[in-house]
Amino acid sequence: MTDHSPYAYDSKIEGNIIFTQLDTAINWMRSNSLWPMPMGLACCAIELMAAGAARFDIARFGAEVMRFSPRQADVMIVAGTVTYKMALAVKRIYDQMADPKWVIAMGACASSGGMYRSYAVLQGIDQLIPVDVYISGCPPRPEALLDGLMRLQKKIMGEASFLEQKRELLASI
């Protein structure tokens, strides 16, 4: 019988260990399991549904878990025309989402009011909540939405949330 040291070499896990930074690991996990809050307000929501269906399959990017509860969502996809009547409800739902959270403004209306230059339509959801990715199109095709999602993933991979937390902690001491 030999002693089994906990630090001994184990051939079974060879090749399954990756050395990385904590931020990178966190970002990798976050960006590949973005649970969307589908804020479907107009025709863009139809394209959002198409992006979720089999042909375009948003599940390839880990974003297929549409959560209608803001508490469980990571990214709000504002898909459609934001009327003034709806605007504060959208902001309220955004406020209820837990950090970290991101916003995709899908389509011309959510980005800038689109063709609705009128008394009833908010001229871009970025007037109320911070937007990470704007997607052009009226409505954008599902490929455009997936491209926006990939850009958001890229943006998340560049974040340094843990490092910033550490800096804030050090600064507060």
Binding site: Y84, A87, Q123
Partner: protein, 202 residues
């Protein structure tokens, strides 16, 4: 019974209250004194069989007198007849009698007319706004209301701000010409008005 007989029956009963009659492509429109609207509607429903109120709409004849016009679309399901009744409402504080007691469907139609055009309906059971929110101070489909909107704020409910029109796309230019001329697909703020002779490439 056909539309001529309907018109004859209404004229016989209400004579001087019927101020106009237009027939266009088989559609009959009768203009009525505002006070006669409710009795005529009741007569149409009970005696002439117009059991369905299709729609109530309103027209703003801005800078003309009387300013507001109301249009009631009546339909008889049994006979397949369509009758249009028109009446007027004055300039300030326009108001007509509600027909909710005749057709319950009038409830929401009249709320919409009140919301968008600011015409009140007497004896309406629940005259609240239906599209805009309670507290919104304007009636946006009136001709003197600007397309871009006005500032308003009801805390915790909604706010509005004027939209930047900037003469950009989707805004009709005040020149003569076809729609292609008046609304070119690309136009930026500060661009000169389109030339009436200019025709956009198809």
């Amino acid at each position: 019974m056909n539309l001529d007989q309907v018109a004859a029956a209404i004229s016989e009963r209400f004579g001087p209250d019927v101020t106009g009659r237009v027939e266009f492509r088989g559609e009959l429109s009768l203009s009525l004194q505002p006070a006669a609207l409710h009795p005529v509607c009741e007569f149409c429903r009970d005696e002439l069989g117009f059991d369905l109120l299709l729609d109530i709409s309103s027209v703003d004849h801005f800078e003309h007198e009387p300013r507001n016009e109301l249009v009631y679309e009546l339909y008889s399901l049994a006979r397949g007849l369509h009758l249009r009744l028109k009446t007027t409402a004055g300039d300030d504080e326009p108001s007509v009698r509600s027909v909710c007691d005749l057709w319950p469907t009038a409830n929401w139609h009249e709320r919409e007319v009140w919301d968008m055009m600011g015409i009140r309906f007497q004896d309406h059971p629940d005259l609240r706004r239906i599209i805009m929110w309670d507290g919104y101070p304007f009636h946006p489909l009136r001709k003197d209301f600007p397309l871009e909107g006005k500032f308003s704020d009801v805390p915790d409910v909604a706010f509005t701000a004027p939209a930047p029109l900037s003469g950009g796309p989707f805004v009709t230019a005040p020149v003569n010409g076809t729609t292609e001329v008046r609304e070119p697909r690309a136009r930026r703020a500060g661009d000169p008005l389109p030339d009436a002779a200019f025709t956009a490439e198809p």
